[in-house]
């Protein structure tokens, strides 16, 4: 059994999995059920001057029958009295001393920050998370992402928080910026102990084609919301890696953004996250998903021979480099396993229309290769389907074949193939040593 416990900014958590600040951490009763299910920590639904919410609040993107691949919300911070929230925080910490409770905060003036930080610390918060990311509603009042997008303001408020707090201060960053390093550096300069990212992405989730009102609708109107869920993971991973790569960002990071499975979590950890925060997947399936997050991560670490989750942290960062450092001589080609192929033709049409026209069917070569469909470019190479060993008719006529001379190894066929391991990308034999664009530039050959 690998050691899943983590220590972030001196806060010990039994595992890296925290509930993100959102509807699942709205009340003490919820947070305690989350802890019972196995969550190591929870970032409390953002506290501030209680607001009035609108209805409806949520929207989602489904794709080809898969529900909620992307999610957005126009809900604001807590709508419950601060006194109730602090009382519940106190109760939760008393009953669950080994679980982490971070309190997310969002207020305006320095006095308000001082007041709310004191009350949070008094209630027993293990740490604070400054919500500088919320991209809807609160930013119109000068808070949330209005702060996250202004590095100077962000830095100043962070320094206030550090002044008033004797527990670690995390700054939650907005992804709605051109360069994440600007707010990231501001948070570090302001003295933060850690960074949480990403908050949601400014979005319109869709338009109701009957009413022609954007979603989610509030009567006959809507507003931009915060986008999250599985579809945002790649954006979050990138921003995480950019900060993780930057030596000046020398604080631990709590990773957030579309995490639904232990694989997602392991990827965040490998790109430098110390803890993982989850919201949308819990809103979709409930707290129970943490069981497989823990179990799956543990099995993965065991299989990898890693004794603790911290041994995985940041392991993928060295492999994240500038394009100019990539090896221009690296060469792979697609191989189709004829025994596994079901003849759906998806690799063929994808390569034909979307890539480099190097997959052919045995019914005939692809367009552009011969005859009247040739747009004047002429045949690229003469390719023939692989023949039976006796030189007779081609084996398995439904199986497309790759023109290995022309295949540029782009992955597209492999990505669209519905059969696991049917198309694989294999390294082509080559003798040339690594040479990158930067090498060419250095030699003056580019």
């Amino acid at each position: 059994m690998a050691d899943l416990s983590v220590n972030i900014c001196g806060i010990k958590s039994p595992n890296p999995f925290w509930l993100a600040s959102a509807p699942p951490t709205n009340t003490g009763e919820q947070v305690m059920r989350g802890f019972d299910a196995g969550w190591g920590g929870a970032v409390w639904k953002t506290l501030g001057e209680p607001i009035v919410n609108v209805n409806s609040r949520f929207g989602a993107i489904d794709y080809s029958g898969t529900k909620v691949i992307g999610f957005n919300n126009i809900e604001l911070i807590t709508d419950r009295p601060l006194a109730s929230n602090f009382k519940e925080i106190y109760e939760v910490k008393k009953r669950y001393p080994h679980n982490v409770v971070i309190v997310s905060l969002m207020v305006e003036t320095k006095d308000e920050w001082q007041e709310i930080i004191k009350r949070s610390v008094d209630a027993g918060a293990d740490g604070l998370e400054l919500n500088f990311g919320c991209p809807h509603g609160m930013c119109e009042r000068g808070m949330g992402s209005a702060v996250g997008e202004e590095p100077k303001v962000l830095q100043e408020i962070t320094s206030w928080a550090k002044e008033f707090s004797n527990v670690p201060v995390f700054v939650k960053l907005s992804p709605n910026v051109t360069d994440i390093r600007d707010p990231g550096m501001a948070a570090v300069m302001g003295g933060c102990d850690g960074i949480s990212l990403i908050n949601t992405i400014k979005s319109i989730i869709g338009v109701d084609l009957d009413t022609l009102v954007p979603k989610p609708s509030v009567g006959k109107e809507s507003t931009n919301g915060g986008y999250c869920g599985p579809a945002v993971k790649p954006i979050a991973l990138h921003l995480l890696a950019v900060l993780g790569k930057d030596p000046k960002i020398n604080v631990p990071i709590s990773g957030i953004g579309g995490i639904s499975t232990w694989q997602d979590a392991a990827e965040f950890i490998a790109l430098g996250a110390t803890t993982i925060q989850v919201c949308t997947a819990v809103m979709h399936y409930g707290y129970r998903i943490v069981e497989d997050l823990i179990d799956g991560l543990n099995n993965y670490l065991n299989n990898k021979g890693l004794k603790s989750v911290s041994e995985l942290t940041g392991q993928a960062i060295p492999g994240f480099v500038d394009w100019g450092e990539l090896d221009l001589n690296y060469d792979i080609i697609a191989k189709i396993d004829g025994d596994k192929c079901i003849g759906c033709g998806l690799c063929y049409v994808a390569c034909l229309d979307g890539a480099h026209q190097c997959i052919h069917t045995q019914k005939g070569p692809c367009h552009g290769w011969h005859g009247e469909a040739d747009h004047g470019f002429g045949p690229r190479t003469e390719v023939m389907p692989p023949l039976h060993h006796d030189g007779g008719v081609p084996a398995m006529s439904h199986v497309p074949f790759v023109d290995e001379e022309e295949c540029i190894g782009c992955n597209l066929c492999m990505l669209v193939c519905p059969v696991p391991d049917c198309i694989t990308m294999v390294e082509a034999s080559h003798s040339e040593s690594k040479k990158s664009w930067k090498d060419h530039v250095a030699k003056g050959s580019a």
Partner: protein
């Protein structure tokens, strides 16, 4: 005139077939969406090649998944005007569904027939509710007339494509009810007569004229039609069920399968006698399997199918036999009937011989049903039409034109008994050739859906 089964309204709810429920009921919207989204949208999909009408199946399924039902139905009907009934009655396991790539992934194949049924049905409903036609009739004026003999799938498909391009298409049907086998023979758990008639009416509203109760060769001579019309299409199917030369089979308790099936489907006064316990069906084709399953589903306790060879050699589909077995039908292989032993009109037993041991034994029973194929009756229409040694009308493989250049034929009368979908394709191909010969280029249904045209280009 046609052999009317009753003077009462033929679509009385008392008909026995009303006791059957749909074996594959119409999908709900949610079911259709889930199934449509499972389709991986193959390129040059094997299901298309497996369809005799070459419907662009992935295209119509994709349109269901995006909620474009009208577009989906158009893809279906452009290739197959009988898309509604074929979605229900096609042996999809042997055709499109059997070719689905999911079979090779050990996953359940896409239920193409049920999706087709869904899109066609929903589009017909939308058409009715909005009054907007999927296929408005061509405004082109034409004084050309085509006569079609028999109101079954082949003629209906042919007439629809002709009518859409402004041709006056007139169908002559000797019976009182149109629809051919969909109306009179297809198992009621696949389609009932109401639905078949509904489809016929949908086709008629494209400008096709139907004359029932008129028998060509009897009431009107074929030659007269040839004189008066630009072209004649023969889609008369097959004739009466064949009889065995079996001693003792001249009893009311010995049935032709086709007659019995038709009574179950269309005769409001027909019911099974209470004391009917054992029925033996002689034959190994799909009609034999159908009537066995129908009788078993209607409550006959002991239904046995007698076939002279083994199950593997049965011409009926294995998937149909499997389904029949689920309802209690038992198969007796390797027996051939010798004689019906009777007590007056009543049957005591069927004397059979084992084709393996040559042992002879009696099988006590109440009814015997002969399901041993149907007669060809094209010669009744005109001795002028050339037929092969099996009585099938000889036509050109692509144009469906007979030895007489003005006469076309399609469906069971040219192929000896295939599926509704084959008949629909024959009708379409004949329609295209008739249009071409009349100098009319087919309009909205487009040559790209015309299979033989495509294969012509490939050569």
């Amino acid at each position: 005139m046609g052999n009317k089964t009753s003077s009462k309204p033929l679509l009385s709810p008392k008909r026995l077939e009303r006791q059957f429920s749909d074996y594959k009921p119409l999908y709900s919207e949610a079911e259709a969406l889930i199934e449509a989204n499972r389709c991986i949208n193959c390129y040059d999909a094997p299901c298309i090649s497996a369809c005799p009408t070459g419907i662009d199946i992935p295209a119509f399924i994709k349109k269901i998944s995006t909620g474009n039902i009208i577009g989906s139905a158009k893809v279906i009907f452009e290739a197959n005007m009988l898309g509604y009934s074929t979605g229900r009655v096609c042996p999809v396991e042997e055709l499109c569904v059997g070719a689905c790539v999911y079979n090779d992934l050990n996953s359940s194949p896409i239920q193409i027939g049920r999706l087709q049924h869904y899109a066609a049905k929903k589009a017909m409903e939308i058409e009715e509710n909005t009054g907007e036609k999927l296929f408005p009739r061509s405004k082109r004026k034409s004084d050309k007339k085509v006569a079609l003999i028999g109101a079954g799938p082949a003629s209906l498909a042919c007439a629809a494509y002709l009518a859409l391009d402004g041709i006056e298409a007139v169908i002559f049907e000797k019976d009182t009810l149109p629809g051919g086998l969909n109306t009179t023979a297809v198992a009621p758990y696949k389609i009932q007569t109401e639905a078949s008639i509904e489809e016929v009416n949908w086709i008629l509203q494209h400008g096709v004229e139907l004359k029932t109760g008129v028998e060509i060769g009897k009431d009107i001579a074929l030659e007269k039609l040839i004189d008066e019309y630009e072209a004649v299409f023969i889609g008369i199917g097959l004739g009466m069920g064949k009889r065995l030369e079996l001693k003792g089979n001249d009893s009311a308790a010995v049935w032709r399968a086709t007659d019995l099936i038709r009574k179950i489907k269309n005769d409001p006064d027909f019911s099974l006698p209470d004391e009917l316990n054992t029925v033996l069906i002689i034959g190994g084709g799909n009609t034999a399997i159908d009537i066995s399953r129908e009788l078993a589903m209607l409550g006959v306790k002991d239904v046995r199918l007698l076939y002279r060879r083994s199950r593997k050699e049965m011409p009926g589909y294995e998937h149909e036999m499997v389904e029949a077995s689920r309802y209690g039908v038992r198969l007796v292989e390797h027996v051939t009937p010798l004689e019906i032993i009777r007590n007056g009109e009543q049957i005591k037993a069927l004397k059979v011989k084992s084709t393996i041991s040559n042992d002879i034994f009696d099988l006590p029973c109440d009814w015997v049903v002969e399901a041993v194929g149907q007669l060809k009756h094209v010669t009744k229409i005109s001795p002028e039409i050339e037929v092969d040694d099996q009585g099938r009308v000889i036509v050109d493989a692509k144009t469906r034109c007979t030895s007489n250049p003005k006469v076309y034929a399609g469906g069971d009368c040219i192929n000896g008994g295939k599926e509704v979908v084959n008949a629909a394709q024959d009708g379409r191909e004949a329609a295209f050739d008739i249009l071409r010969n009349l100098g009319i280029s087919p309009s909205l249904h487009g040559e790209k859906y015309f299979k033989s045209f495509v294969s012509e280009n490939k050569n």
